[in-house]
């Protein structure tokens, strides 16, 4: 038995990824092993992960499968990085359907010249977040493209989970009389990224709200047997999410501006740039619909959870018009909250 564990020396040459690292030869193998598989430790050595779970065998259980690509710039920002979002985003897309997330794949498109240290950081974030969320990254891929063909690194994660037989969460379940709940403040991620991009030369202490919400979802499901549907509000903000759900359910939704809460820096950011916080991106914001009579117990349960401390009812579901989202303003007036058109551009005017 060795008294010491030999330290592994890096076989990688240089600080940056070159086209050789995508060539399929030794350099690629070394990159994959050192940077990716040594950390992720996927099961087996084959081109595919071979997996089984008892839960799939339960009659009425469903396989849930989702995929998402992540191209955020800058790749590292306060509160996270592209790797963290890549795990959270896919875990959340499974969890909001009532699935228990199990396995993720991770594919990387790497720009020639990307710093290897950046890749290591991203992989570490993914590993940390995956463990936190209770999922395993079991298979993946890397490609290297010429300088200029990608922005440092793009990540695609696909995720698989199991929806237990008793669960059927879907937007179409939402009906008039239901209430809409969010788990906390809005817009942290979008505002953080805007500041981090630097092109407006604005600085704040904000951090992204990027987080895995499967734990919170399980809490909600346990507390609210009548839970209709849930989504995580990402690009396009809470407004876009509500519009999609209203459309799918053929109902109207009215939210109350006085219930929406923002960190004061997010408010400041919106005021300076003339942005509407309803459309700011989130990465850890849950929007869910429950029957009115279950609202109190849902909130009580959410507020016990670290990611639901500021959970609040933000609105109610109306008969119609179908697909229309409106908001009672601070002033008691009403305004439409339409789907976002294009990208929200900072106003000056």
């Amino acid at each position: 038995m060795n008294a010491q564990t030999p330290t592994k020396t890096s076989r990688l040459r240089g600080d940056r990824v070159t086209l050789a690292h995508g060539g399929g030869g030794k350099a690629m193998r070394d990159l994959i092993e050192e940077v990716f598989t040594d950390v992720f430790d996927p099961p087996g050595d084959e081109d595919q992960a071979r997996l089984m779970t008892q839960a799939l065998q339960d009659p009425g259980a469903q396989l849930a499968f989702t995929t998402d690509s992540f191209v955020v710039t800058p790749p590292v920002f306060p509160g996270g990085d592209i790797g963290k979002i890549a795990v959270c985003g896919t875990v959340n897309d499974l969890a909001v359907g009532g699935a228990i997330p199990l396995w993720l794949s991770a594919a990387f498109i790497i720009e020639e010249g990307c710093e290897i240290a950046l890749l290591r950081q991203i992989v570490q974030s993914m590993d940390t977040e995956a463990r936190k969320a209770g999922v395993r990254i079991v298979t993946g891929d890397t490609k290297v493209v010429e300088r200029g063909s990608a922005d440092q690194v793009f990540v695609t994660t696909s995720g698989v989970g199991v929806i237990p037989p008793d669960r059927d969460l879907r937007a179409a379940n939402i009906r008039p009389g239901d209430v809409a709940i969010v788990n906390g403040v809005l817009g942290d991620h979008g505002a953080t990224i805007l500041a981090a991009r630097g092109d407006m030369a604005l600085s704040t202490d904000l951090i992204s709200d990027c987080n895995s919400l499967n734990g919170l979802m399980e809490t909600v499901i346990a507390a609210a047997p009548g839970l209709r549907a849930a989504r995580d509000a990402t690009r396009g903000g809470v407004a876009s999410c509500l519009n999609e759900m209203a459309d799918a359910a053929g109902v109207g939704i009215e939210i109350d501006e006085t219930t929406l809460s923002l960190r004061h820096e997010v408010k400041g950011m919106c005021e300076v740039l003339g942005l509407d916080p309803l459309y700011l991106a989130n990465e850890g914001t849950l929007v869910l619909f429950v029957p009115q009579e279950e609202a109190d117990q849902t909130l009580a349960a959410m507020r016990q959870h670290s990611m639901g401390k500021d959970a609040v009812v933000i609105g109610k579901v109306l008969d119609g018009p179908a697909g229309r989202v409106t908001m009672r303003t601070l002033f008691g007036g009403t305004r439409l909250v339409d789907m976002l058109v294009g990208e929200q551009l900072p106003r000056i005017c």
């Binding site: 007036g333 009403t334 305004r335 294009g342 551009l345 005017c349």
Partner: protein
Amino acid sequence: MRYVEEFRDPMAAKAVLAAIETVIDQIGATRDKPVHIMEVCGGHTHAIFRYGLDKLTPPGIEFIHGPGCPVCVLPMSRIDECVQIAERPEVIFTTFGDAMRVPGTRKSLMQAKADGADIRMVYSPLDAMELARRNPDREVVFFGLGFETTTPSTALSIQQAAREKLNNFSVFCNHITVPPPIKALLDDPHMVLDGFVGPGHVSMVIGVHPYDFIAEDYGKPIVVAGFEPLDLLQSVLMVLRQIQDGRAEVENQYARVVPDAGNPISMAAIEDVYEARPTFEWRGLGEIDASGLRIRQAYQAYDAEEKFGVGYGAGPRLVKEPEGCACGQVMTGRIKPFQCEQYGKGCTPEMPLGALMVSSEGACAAYYQYGATEAAE
């Protein structure tokens, strides 16, 4: 947020609204015989719809949306010229976000960017100058857009560029001034206007006296207003009280920001760098004398029109509006957005025909975004 939230207090709003209702009753204004109040500035139009003030104020007030949206009044030919400059490989074209989606005859700046032009959104002309410092081998052009609120910022930037000899920086000047189009509207026999809510931020630069002619020569009240909902409501109340009293005065509701005399440093910078063009084309209003600014000869090294041979007078003027586009009529308050045939059909924010639907302060965009698709109840 200091100096903002106090002016958004819903309780205070109720009181002002009640006072407004009282005066409206007393002067006998109704939906069929309303008081016509023009809010000149696009920022005010936006605020009215964001806070639902059009629905909260009584039907006896009709808001006529004025031409104070500098993106909206921009003739399509100017966008074409922007695209022309931006398509040059050596140019980094910088602009405020507002202008990105305005359609030109060929394309918008957003489309030109997708086609490969180096077009970048900036928050400030200072950022454009920084880009010029960091990219000495490129020509950085800043799209100088806006009324007198923004004109000092580009004037000061040009002065700074001259001091530093930042010769790869230039401004494509499209600054316009507020008083001339107001006069043009007042001279229009078809316009029915009883009073004005005046542009608060333009006034922090030029002061309140440039509006004296509105009260003295045309006998209409004007109240210079701030941008928070309480500012707007209080200003509307002040206009109504003037009408009730038979007064026509220039009043300053936004005194916390607007000195009556304006800002001498800003005005001096504008005077130093810019001069009035003899005429300038306004979408929907045609050519108006002495309403547009150009860079003086002393600073021609920083004038993109000189550098790139484009600009007012250099190309064909008065590009025809696209078929069915009624921006001109909406912008001068002759019709409401939803009365335009194309509104919501051939003209939407995704596929705009004209600037009013694309600029965040255009009346059509405000109506569309906040849902004022039919006349207020």
